[in-house]
């Protein structure tokens, strides 16, 4: 009896958590459907639901180019970061070489680095190198700051892989390529995926580099563009338009979270979970 009661108690606590996580999201969604006087009606929900804000946002070059920049820059940074991190993590997990600890310590130190402390010199350097306000100018810092996370996540995963299975498969008659593709790749893929998701979230979320190292629509990513919405006068109601844009860029996050929930949790806590 008391077992069931406590189960229900924990489930109710779970409902509180879900409400906590969803309330602000529901609010910005609701705001994005408001129009005209509704925006300032001081109510949670609109009295009249409208898609106007979405139309406005998609008609705005400021937003569509920012969306294109964000998607392109984040995907490229993620891919390169994960590939480089995979090499490094493989070496750290499987090979014996001097300086391994140093690599890991460096990664940890960079993960703790205050990014804003670098924007001044980078601003100056990027201008003299001619990559200020370009995709490359953002991809490089994203790469540097996501590599530590990717390396740590991936080496934790690679450490758990039973590498002997590769030889076992070869003994059983598989070619080296088959052994790699059929045995190692499926074992390593979840780790690579996890690193990719965490890296993508970092790049997608970045604001500091986004506003400091861009000046125009050429490279400005969405978070930075959102901050400039208010300054533009061609929006009658920046509040609702910003909300609509905010909802659009939140959709990919929610889709990724829904599909890869297990991997993300494992990645954020890997190592701590094992023990």
């Amino acid at each position: 009896m008391s077992r069931t009661r406590s189960k229900i108690g924990w489930a109710l606590a779970g409902v509180v958590i879900v409400a906590y996580t969803l309330l602000p999201v529901a609010w910005i969604v609701s705001l994005s459907f408001k129009q005209g006087d509704d925006i300032n009606n001081k109510k949670f929900l609109p009295t009249h639901w409208s898609l106007d804000n979405y139309r406005t946002v998609f008609d705005t070059n400021l937003f569509t180019s920012a969306l294109r920049n964000s998607i392109g820059i984040s995907l490229i940074a993620t891919t390169v970061s994960v590939v480089l991190a995979t090499f490094a993590a493989y070496a750290i997990a499987r090979l014996q070489f001097r300086g391994k600890r140093l690599v890991l310590t460096t990664a940890l130190a960079i993960a703790m680095f205050p990014t804003v402390a670098l924007v001044g010199p980078l601003f100056d350097m990027w201008r003299s190198l001619g990559i200020y306000d370009t995709w490359l100018g953002l991809i490089i810092p994203y790469l540097s700051f996501t590599l530590p996370l990717s390396i740590w996540v991936l080496s934790a995963f690679f450490r758990e892989i039973p590498w002997e299975m590769e030889q076992a498969a070869q003994v059983d008659g598989a070619t080296p390529w088959q052994a790699f593709r059929k045995v190692i790749v499926p074992l390593a893929a979840p780790g690579v995926f996890t690193a990719a998701i965490i890296t993508f979230f970092f790049a997608w979320n970045d604001f500091v580099f986004g506003i400091s190292l861009t000046a125009t629509n050429r490279a400005r990513p969405v978070p930075a563009a959102l901050a400039f919405f208010t300054g533009e006068s061609f929006f009658q109601q920046p509040t609702a338009a910003i909300s609509a844009a905010a909802v659009i860029v939140t959709i990919p996050v929610i889709v990724i979270v829904l599909i890869f929930q297990r991997q993300i949790v494992a990645g954020l806590t890997s190592g701590a979970v094992k023990g």
């Binding site: 109510k43 480089l84 205050p114 996370l149 450490r159 901050a227 990645g267």
Partner: protein, 316 residues
């Protein structure tokens, strides 16, 4: 964003080679060493390119009076920029604001995060749903979260004043109420991260210890403080360290909500304003270096004071 993961085990690869003859070992070991370096080199270069060199450059620029709009007037001034910053009350005000936000945010989310971790650990019905939902604030763009909270409290569009009958309370025109909303938004966004780390620590606490304490007649409260918390100390300390450093860097939320008005400016925001907005690269670099040093100070202080052993997170 900070992530804590296991420190990979050092020195597994050499084990097989060790069994073989000495001559073979050194040759093999040398090959292995070289391959190891080749494989980590691109990542190490990638990490250092945008950190080590610019940091060195910031130190160099901080010794000059240098404004980007007037490069001809660049002049060596030694440590004078540091003197200017450290004797300015604005600097100390931003340090105070940042420390205040950091301490309150981290303490509040440690408590809420622990409660959330407990729920995620014990819950049976809806376990998956809760674990998925909790990732939403973690994944959402900080700027988006800041707008959502700002609009909720805003005088014109907000529903909070209406819901709680606060009339026309202008949250953002007073330092402390503005900081309250900033802290709320930060706590909302980052509690999931800390709760997942604490959950990971929680599952490490042996269930037998709980049972044994129960048999000995310990109350639930005693079990929490005498069994659970001491056994997950490493996880708590690492979560605290990472979140403290992360909270100390606060920038996005302040930029969106107040733009630093009403004395809500953080050290990161001051750095941005000096270097990018005012293009005072000399003075701004001095602020950058001080920001960097304070982060180092916090990290070292934490590791020394609480003896946080980062390699222990992996539990070996």
């Amino acid at each position: 964003m900070a992530t804590v993961t296991a420190q990979p085990e050092a020195g597994e690869g050499g084990r097989g080679a060790r069994a073989r003859s000495r001559a073979h070992l050194s040759e093999r070991a040398r090959d292995e060493q070289r391959l190891g370096w080749y494989l980590v080199a691109p990542a190490v270069i990638g990490m250092l390119a945008v950190t080590a060199y610019p940091l060195g450059r910031a130190v160099y620029l901080s010794l000059y009076n240098y404004r980007l709009t007037d490069p001809a007037a660049k002049e060596f001034v030694g440590l004078r920029n540091y003197g200017v910053v450290l004797t300015d009350s604005l600097w100390w005000q931003t340090v105070f604001t940042t420390v205040f936000i950091t301490v309150v945010t981290v303490l509040v989310e440690l408590v809420i995060g622990f409660a959330f971790a407990m729920v995620m650990y014990r819950i049976v019905f809806g376990r998956r749903t809760v674990r998925t939902a909790i990732l939403i604030p973690y994944g959402i763009i900080t700027v988006v979260a800041a707008y959502a909270w700002q609009y909720a409290f805003a005088l014109d569009s907000g529903f909070v004043n209406e819901w709680f009958n606060l009339g026309d309370k202008a949250w953002f025109s007073n330092r402390w109420s503005a900081l309250t909303v900033i802290i709320l938004a930060e706590v909302w966004k980052t509690t999931p991260f800390i709760s997942l780390l604490l959950l990971a620590g929680l599952v490490q606490v042996p269930e037998e210890l709980q049972e044994a304490a129960k048999v000995d007649g310990a109350t639930a409260w005693q079990r929490l403080w005498r069994v659970t918390v001491p056994n997950m100390k490493a996880a708590i300390m690492v979560a605290l360290l990472f979140r403290t450093l992360d909270a100390y860097r606060i920038f996005d939320t302040i930029f969106i909500m107040t733009g630093g008005a009403e004395k809500t400016e953080s050290v990161s925001f001051l750095t941005y304003r000096q270097t990018i907005v005012r293009t005072e690269l000399g003075l701004g670099s001095a602020v950058s270096v001080l920001l960097f040093l304070s982060v180092v100070l916090i990290a070292v202080g934490f590791i020394k004071a609480f003896r946080v052993d980062l390699s222990r997170v992996r539990g070996d």
